[in-house]
């Protein structure tokens, strides 16, 4: 996926400026023609513009709202944004009849709340997944825990690990290292302390064996060299960092959700508690001593920042990064390493012979 950098002092404002293009029917039509998407009719165009506008309004309102109601506003904003995007790429209003999920078990600790799926034909969860995470079918799946959902979201990985000291994350952050003649990737060992049999785990990542040579373990890293059949696997957070996603075993299936779906399911959970279980939500907001409240705060802030960005990435098939500062000068100097110097010297010596 190509990277597009937009220099801005306010990423959230800039995201919505980009999305506000789709508040205008003429822009919607032009975009559909350029991208060869099905052309929406006037009603659908009105639906799309309405969804984007409402979404922005919900997100704006959430900014200054207390945690007591914030998840609800962000959730509604997300539903509007995702529905509008579905209509934009499919050319028709999605037939969403319900959320596609419900809370099957509520616990005092948020981590243990279970989310069950339903109505894979007209439920929002499945319909959104069909577009933003094709291939994942939610039928015949056992309920997922809230903690598991959060474990898939790379944007909150470090906060997740701080809050849930024993939990295993389902993302692994990957460094991309560019040398003059070869690019490789590596995983810091400090990132994988909670994994058993890490090399085996990495090799079980979908697409790994096709794209990478067997991992090499050093004292500090797991080194991953790309095969010549390499293609991009893994995901990128909105901050440009690469992650591998690890699945959870669920009823014999491998389940893995991406950030969009993860945020959507997480926000549904919090907003359901907020709206339908104030007897649980209020004490949590005012009296939590476990640290989960901090994680929820961070989760919602990240949702506000990331969801519009992730949607833009999807719409423009690009990795759009909103950055604060761009060095306007062009650096033509290249770093050179010891082994590259040796190689050059060897070549010159051989030519001299």
């Amino acid at each position: 996926m190509n990277i597009q950098k937009i220099v801005t002092e306010d990423p959230i404002k800039s995201q919505w400026l980009q999305l506000s293009n789709f508040m205008y029917p003429s822009n919607i039509e032009r975009f559909a023609i350029e991208q060869k998407y099905p052309l929406p009719n006037d009603l659908t165009k009105a639906y799309i513009s309405g969804c984007i506008k409402q979404s922005q309004a919900y997100f704006e309102s959430a900014k200054n709202s207390p945690l007591d109601i914030k998840p609800l506003l962000v959730y509604y904003g997300t539903v509007c944004l995702l529905s509008g995007t579905l209509a934009l790429v499919n050319g028709k209003i999605p037939e969403i009849k319900n959320h596609g999920m419900y809370l099957s078990q509520i616990d005092d600790q948020l981590a243990n709340i279970s989310i069950a799926t339903k109505d894979t034909k007209n439920g929002a969860l499945q319909l959104f997944s069909n577009t933003f995470l094709p291939g994942l079918v939610f039928s015949n799946i056992s309920p997922l825990k809230f903690q598991d959902i959060l474990s898939f979201i790379p944007e909150i990985r470090s906060d997740f690990l701080s809050c849930y000291r024993e939990a295993q994350p389902h993302t692994i952050s990957v460094q991309i290292v560019n040398k003059a003649k070869v690019t490789f990737e590596r995983i810091s060992l400090s990132e994988v302390t909670r994994f058993q049999e890490i090399e085996k785990t990495i090799m079980s990542i979908e697409g790994y064996k096709e794209c990478y040579i067997s991992p090499q373990l050093t004292k500090a890293f797991i080194i991953l060299y790309r095969k010549n059949t390499h293609h991009e696997i893994g995901t990128y957070s909105v901050f440009g960092k690469k992650y591998f996603s690890l699945p959870i075993k669920n009823n014999g299936k491998n389940i893995s959700v991406n950030s969009i779906i993860g945020f959507f399911m997480g926000l549904f959970t919090l907003s359901t508690l907020c709206r339908y279980h104030p007897e649980k939500w209020h004490p949590f907001v005012t009296n939590d001593t476990t640290g989960e409240r901090l994680l929820v705060d961070i989760f919602i802030s990240n949702a506000v920042r990331s969801i519009p960005n992730l949607v833009l990435n999807y719409i423009y098939k690009s990795n759009i990064q909103f950055i604060f500062h761009d060095d306007q000068s062009t650096n033509l100097s290249l770093p050179i390493y010891e082994d590259e110097i040796k190689e050059i010297v060897n070549e010159l010596l051989q030519k001299g012979n």
Partner: protein, 331 residues
Amino acid sequence: MNLQESIFSFTKSVQSTQDCQKMSTLIESLNSFKENSGKEDRSNFGYIARRQYLQILGYILVHQHREEMAQKIPMISEEELDLFVATNNLFLKVNMFLTDGIAKEIDPYKTIINPYSLIQFNPIETKSIINLYSHNVLENLRNSFMTHPALVTIINNPPIIEKDHLPNLMVNVQRFQKQILDSGVHNVPESILKIQFTQRANARVKNLANFVSSLTILRTVNQIIDQLFYQAIISKKLSFINTENLISIKRNTSNTIGKGLTCLVIIDKNSWLIEPNDIVLIDGKLLNTNKNTLGWVQNISFTLSEDMGNTQEITMWLLDDNLNPFMNLLM
């Protein structure tokens, strides 16, 4: 059957013999050491022997010169020496059999084509008998060798060389080969380029150049046959460079001598035992060809890094179906 197919058939025959296992065990005992085995660490012997790049003869030379070496070299027993000598005799027999009586035009140059000529060592008598191949496979190997284009070049256009000049010719062939090898797999020595591009029209120069090139090629091909024979004794399979261990192909060139390849490979179970002078197999898919290709390793450089992992850069000549690394040399 081309020479590559014949040598594979030959090496398969070698590996099926009991004496192959016996020699393999002996060689391994001189190249590795297990702690708490109660045995002496003799891995230094094998390390130095391998660096002679003379196959079994390397072990005999180390034994013969062990007193002269700076570092302490462990001993081998008389019985072990006997086995090495008997095996080396088989290598000499193969070299001689390939060229004995195949054509009168070749007879004067048999010594030049033999890769062990010019190596000084004291011959040792032995009563040991080692069986490493059947006569049939050796016969097939010779039949394929007889159709080698370099051999045919000499037979079709034999020069007239005085007997007195043969030692000079031997030295010149050896120098010519060294010049090519020293310039590396991606380069052509200036002197050779000059002949190839400015003297092509001169029939006399061209014929002489082809003659020297043919002798060089045949000597090198024999070296490669010996190396494959040796590798058959010490290991089961050729090291295989494929998509599972290849990081990148740094250079893949073809010039007026042959085809050179430099590739970056991780160190894994398929590639960690590769040494200079080894013959390796390269997956055809990496070179966009239909079949796997043999490579003759010239140079390896290792990078062992905590930050970047362990890799090795391998430089090699690619071999054609006639085991020729200098496939473009004949004009």
